[in-house]
Symmetry: C2
Subunit: 553 residues, 2 copies
Amino acid sequence: MKYSTLFGKTIKDVPHDIVSVSHKLLYKAGYIRDSSNGRYYFLPLGLKVHQKIQKIIKEEMDAAGYQEIVTPIFHPVDLWKETGRTESVGFELLKVRDRNNAEFVLGGTAEEMLVELVRKFQVSYKDMPFGLYQFSTKFRDEMRSRGGLLRMKEFVMKDAYSFNISQEDFKDEYMKMQDVYKNIFKRVGLDIKMVSADNGYIGGDYCHEFIVESDVGESQFLESSDGTYLAHQDIAKFSRGEILKEEFLPLEYSNSTNNPISKFVRGDLFKDENNNFYVVFTRGDIEVNTIKLAHVLGVYDISKVLNDDLLKMGFLSGKISPFDTKGLKTVGDISLKTIVNGYAYSKYTSKYALNINYSRDFQLNIIDDIALAPLGSLSEDGKDLILKKGVEVGHIFQLGFHYSSKMSGAHFTDKDGKTKPYYMGCYGIGIARTLATIVEVHHDDKGIVWPESVAPFMVHLVGINMNDSKVKEAADKLYKKLTDIGVDVLYDDRLDVFPGEKLSDADIIGIPHRVVISPKTLKDGNNIEYMLRKDRISKILNPDKLNEEFINQ
Amino acid sequence: MKYSTLFGKTIKDVPHDIVSVSHKLLYKAGYIRDSSNGRYYFLPLGLKVHQKIQKIIKEEMDAAGYQEIVTPIFHPVDLWKETGRTESVGFELLKVRDRNNAEFVLGGTAEEMLVELVRKFQVSYKDMPFGLYQFSTKFRDEMRSRGGLLRMKEFVMKDAYSFNISQEDFKDEYMKMQDVYKNIFKRVGLDIKMVSADNGYIGGDYCHEFIVESDVGESQFLESSDGTYLAHQDIAKFSRGEILKEEFLPLEYSNSTNNPISKFVRGDLFKDENNNFYVVFTRGDIEVNTIKLAHVLGVYDISKVLNDDLLKMGFLSGKISPFDTKGLKTVGDISLKTIVNGYAYSKYTSKYALNINYSRDFQLNIIDDIALAPLGSLSEDGKDLILKKGVEVGHIFQLGFHYSSKMSGAHFTDKDGKTKPYYMGCYGIGIARTLATIVEVHHDDKGIVWPESVAPFMVHLVGINMNDSKVKEAADKLYKKLTDIGVDVLYDDRLDVFPGEKLSDADIIGIPHRVVISPKTLKDGNNIEYMLRKDRISKILNPDKLNEEFINQ
């Protein structure tokens, strides 16, 4: 393709509200443009990369025996009601009514649609296991998106669904898909970590995120020093430390205390999506994790209550006492059990209760793991846990019977002639986020450095001084030659652009192999200047030797 | 692919509400399944065909120099307000609000989005002309869909947009795209007629539908006997006949008349989308075409008023007189001018007015072409017009300055340094409708007969009596051999299915080349039975000769 005719060229400046490196580079280099918040146009260069990633995913999914289908984008809301997900997913779910007043969900995932499709068929054990996948546009009604393609409101997702006859059978499927995902991410040039994660609104008992470590990521996870334990902070287990070997002392009251914060029984007020209130206690040095708390309570959305709501319920900010919980449901983190002779606010808010001990002095309705691992935590088996950040590019879920038990007819006929619910899994990859993450990882101070597998073109051919007929002739000839043998070339044939600008454009666009033809290279015997974008070391070559360079990389 | 593992096999019966041949066959053969009304799942076989059509379109669009991009599905409503289309498209337009109460249009076409994208760039005459296209899901909020994939509420459309510096320049573009479309439809196996058509809510002055003649189609068009005139009935011009050479007679009143219906001045009451009423007159033998009428009146939606509304306005059904139009705006078809000494209801609804003549006895606010060509019409140059039906598979539009004049900044910088609006065109193809139309045209009483270019597989390999180890061995071997050389094979390897069922499955699925291996074919010297699906004449062959058969077709 000739760069002169390409729609979407490089520009010098990007709007000031663009902050992430990938957003900045993709914008500047002419891969994308912003539409409304969280929605993007893919320009020809950007779409080419998007399609290459998609092709790699398709190849790996096909090789794994998955079959591509496509479901409508509009999911009848009745299907979502069957599984109760219209309630559980909260505000991120977009709904729309048509002129007949029929209601639809614009889904983030399509479990109900897939089960609905599969139950239209008479599936028997002989058809099992099987897996289906699609590439389709998904919607997330986020309050506000950030980071360009890293978090979008509308994006193409590859979502796959597996149907197995049993949990045992599913285990192999799940292991297979872990390998499929590892292959996919390796092929697109990403080093991933497979991290146990929260299953969010998808359902099921366990799942794993595929995370690329990066400071721009929103996934926070903990990795043990030996790399054997990897878990998202929303589910990570960690040691609360030893129980101190002290004698229980008698309860006292005092206006002040010199006890460390790690002996403080701190109370906070929380509220769920149905406006139910909970009084929640943790050890003073540990914070509540709302995802863990929501799971323990079996609710979907929970947040700490402040100011007005707190007063309305009769509490003072920061002074919630385990001895005065106003009859509300109480929850505590397991860390409370490590406190011996701790302290808390007494029911007289001006005084502390000292030497308090869980069980002896106060009890709570629930004691469970509801805390965020603080910096410096140890794993349950005593290894250092390191908090890391990264971008979740893929996510695989055990769904088990979560959907097949809720949706009628979601079963197969087994050997014994009986119908049984199938055991499901689901597997997602966001293409655009993967694309942006590749840029986050593969760039330098001059621009993007695409891995060959996903680069929009293989070769960037730059003609320097195209008004020189010899340059034009040599460049046209090489362009034709490479194109004829199937090499995808972006040919900068512009007449009115300075050499420096052409070269810096090539840098920012980031095509792996660069070939420059100029009066200078031609003077030295019809040569070309060849450079591999990633190391930027150039050499003078005879164009006939070119193939070897970029085919052997 | 092994048929035993294919998701979505043939079934015997289809639901009774499925009526069109393509819907029936695609359902029965396992290409699609219905979701909610007007929305469909594509099963693996169906998606393969869909992708093949898409690939052909992409190849032709790329060859024409168009560049693929993609826009968000959610179009900010403000863009549609710039062009006034939120009003003009009426009920078929789906809107959705996000949690921030921002309103979006789920568009049927994306003109505003494309102009919005292009105006983000500093486009100069040097960048022109250029063309952009996308494959993306489009929405039409129809009251009720019918005909399976022939009319859907949600479908993937290839929509392309061209940007030219002038009308002259655009003419070449428009001619080029006509050829591109002819190539595309030829390659997918469709004979098309290019028919002048109404531009609907897209805007612009003229456009053409690409129609495949078929009784299931909803497009009605007129073709002159010599094939030189082709126009959709909503815009077709036709002769109203000669003006009779009679002397004007004096006006009379009578209780009855023997005059022919072609001398009757018939009045009807119509109402537009804003509840404005119009009294509309035509010659008695001619019907009003509401599309023409709407264009003449500059309104979007107009329909004939009956019963209650008629009485409310003071009219009697069938007895609307040109002498008593209640002060409403009046419109007449040009056919009224051919009537000499005609008749109509007088203002006394029990009597006719005889010997009336337009202009002498009554006048109307507007006289224009607002009529549907009746059967037996002649073209304006005197040729027989034949009414035909067909499926509109593609549609190309001259948009002119329609969008670039309404949207600010929709311009390029010309040689003289001045900014000028660009001259636009737009070009659509619905993929699924094209797919269904191929089936409407290419089938026989046994099933689908795919053209090779879009067939889901090239070869259907059927093993008869797969329990016979020799059959299995020979079939496995041939499957591997063909697959290894890149031939796409669907291999019916099922063990527990009768030969007749396998063969009728192959018939209905419609893959072009069939190869049967059975104990019988093997007995005659390790042969195979080869059949071309379209002529169903089989022959016994040595498998080594197979390549010649299906490569030379």
